[in-house]
């Protein structure tokens, strides 16, 4: 069957897609908690203030969560997060480092016609796909270690444009 086309998330998605605690996959300060943050940029290098970022990941043991209730924040690690960026284009999640090469990420924004899939690779981890990229492309997919976690910017266009993905 042919797929249903995507459309932009538009400007007014906040109240439709708001999730309480959407960025808190774990409590800040809990054992193993890391801060995963970054800025979403447009092709002029300006921050995008009306973007939505979703992440989906395995837990610290590499297990993909399957328990029902991915929005729940009751101490069970559900692996899914969703945040609206700030007016400065910043997103922030509190999560754990998965025992995996990467965290899956999707970005939506006003002005962006369709969602964009990408990956946030953990520093020091790699796979055949990452190695197949040239160094400049690869750099757009690998997070940077910070004092309390990881930093990873998403650039929708321009120099250092993030590598986005399609699937067969």
């Amino acid at each position: 069957m042919r797929g249903t086309p995507g459309q932009t998330v538009g400007p007014f998605f906040r109240y439709g897609l708001e999730v309480e605690g959407g960025g808190l996959l774990v409590s800040p300060g809990s054992p193993g908690a890391i801060r995963l943050s970054g800025t979403v940029y447009d092709g002029s290098g300006a921050a995008i203030p009306d973007a939505l970022v979703e992440i989906w990941q395995a837990d610290g043991a590499g297990v993909i969560p399957t328990a029902e209730g991915s929005f729940h924040r009751d101490g069970t690690f559900t692996g899914f997060g969703r945040v609206h960026v700030t007016d400065a284009g910043e997103y922030e999640f509190w999560t754990v480092l998965p025992d995996a090469d990467f965290i899956a990420v999707i970005v939506f924004a006003r002005g962006l016609m369709d969602r964009l899939h990408s990956r946030i690779y953990l520093p020091g981890r790699s796979d055949a796909f990452l190695e197949s990229l040239d160094p400049a492309e690869r750099a757009t997919l690998v997070a940077i270690e910070t004092g309390d976690g990881l930093r990873h910017d998403l650039r929708l266009q321009g120099e250092n444009e993030t590598v986005f993905l399609a699937y067969p």
């Binding site: 439709g16 029902e68 209730g69 899956a104 002005g111 016609m113 986005f164």
Partner: protein, 257 residues
């Protein structure tokens, strides 16, 4: 404020569609997605990738999906007309359909979220400056979990068309925003559902960002009289098929990628 006219926008849309039609005639397969580089939607100019997406085999995390369920969503959230003390103004309607994967299999027990303007074409969002009345009895956001057949259903009111500032006298055709999860994270989709025979279709650069007419048609719900309830509400049917982002055509003609 832009001085761009509808005639300018319409001419740009026609040129981009004509380019697509030529590529189709030359053998390019049909496109099931919007063109991300679609300047008639002015806000898109600096917000689209200029490189083709990289084709990659999904890993296990991407082949799995978050597991939403009735712990996340209360049954009442699928009725947008009962969220306040009174009933909202507007044409009461039910919209229902199935969420399917590319093989036609139902996407079971998965999350569907919607948001929309009220009957006057006004969003409750604080940045919506359209001088149409807010409805104290309508928020315009709903959620539900698909059933074992992949079926979702919302009760709501028909949203109004609304103006936006893309160009002079720009109006969005009435639509409901849909956010859908599949059985794999690769199938994640956010889109908009439209209503039959809207006269604003040819003028709207967001709807027309999908260059393929058959693909555009798939965003339009069908009026279904069997779904209408006597003395109560009108019914619309709209199915959603989740296939995930395919390698899309962005690169110049002649490329073999």
């Amino acid at each position: 404020m832009t001085e761009t006219t509808q005639a300018t926008i319409s001419a740009e849309i026609a040129a981009l569609h004509s380019d697509y039609d030529k590529r189709r005639a030359a053998g390019m397969p049909p496109l099931d997605s919007p063109l991300v580089d679609f300047a008639p939607y002015r806000s898109s100019v600096l917000r689209h990738p200029t490189k083709n997406p990289k084709l990659v085999d999904p890993e296990s995390i991407e082949l799995a999906s978050p597991a939403f369920g009735h712990r996340d969503v209360a049954a009442v959230e699928s009725d947008l007309t009962v969220q306040h003390a009174g009933e909202p103004l507007g044409e009461r309607m039910v919209v229902t359909g199935r969420v399917l994967d590319g093989e036609g299999r139902p996407v079971r027990h998965q999350l569907v979220e919607v948001w929309q303007a009220n009957a006057s074409g006004r969003y409750i969002h604080q940045r919506d400056q359209h001088p149409a009345p807010l409805d104290p009895n309508f928020t315009g956001a709903g959620r539900c979990i698909t059933d074992a057949d992949g079926r979702y259903s919302f009760t709501t009111i028909k949203p109004g068309a609304y103006p936006w500032k893309n160009h002079v006298n720009a109006w969005r055709p009435a639509h409901i925003h849909f956010s859908v999860f599949g059985s794999a994270f690769t199938q994640r989709l956010v889109t908009q559902m439209y209503f039959p025979v809207d006269p604003l279709f040819p003028l709207d650069p967001i709807y027309q960002s999908i260059p393929d007419q058959a693909a555009r048609d798939r965003l339009v719900a069908a009026y279904d009289h069997d779904l209408s309830s006597p003395e109560w509400s009108l019914g619309y049917r709209w199915d959603i098929v989740l296939t995930g982002p395919r390698a899309t055509w962005i690169e110049p003609e002649g490329s073999d990628a």
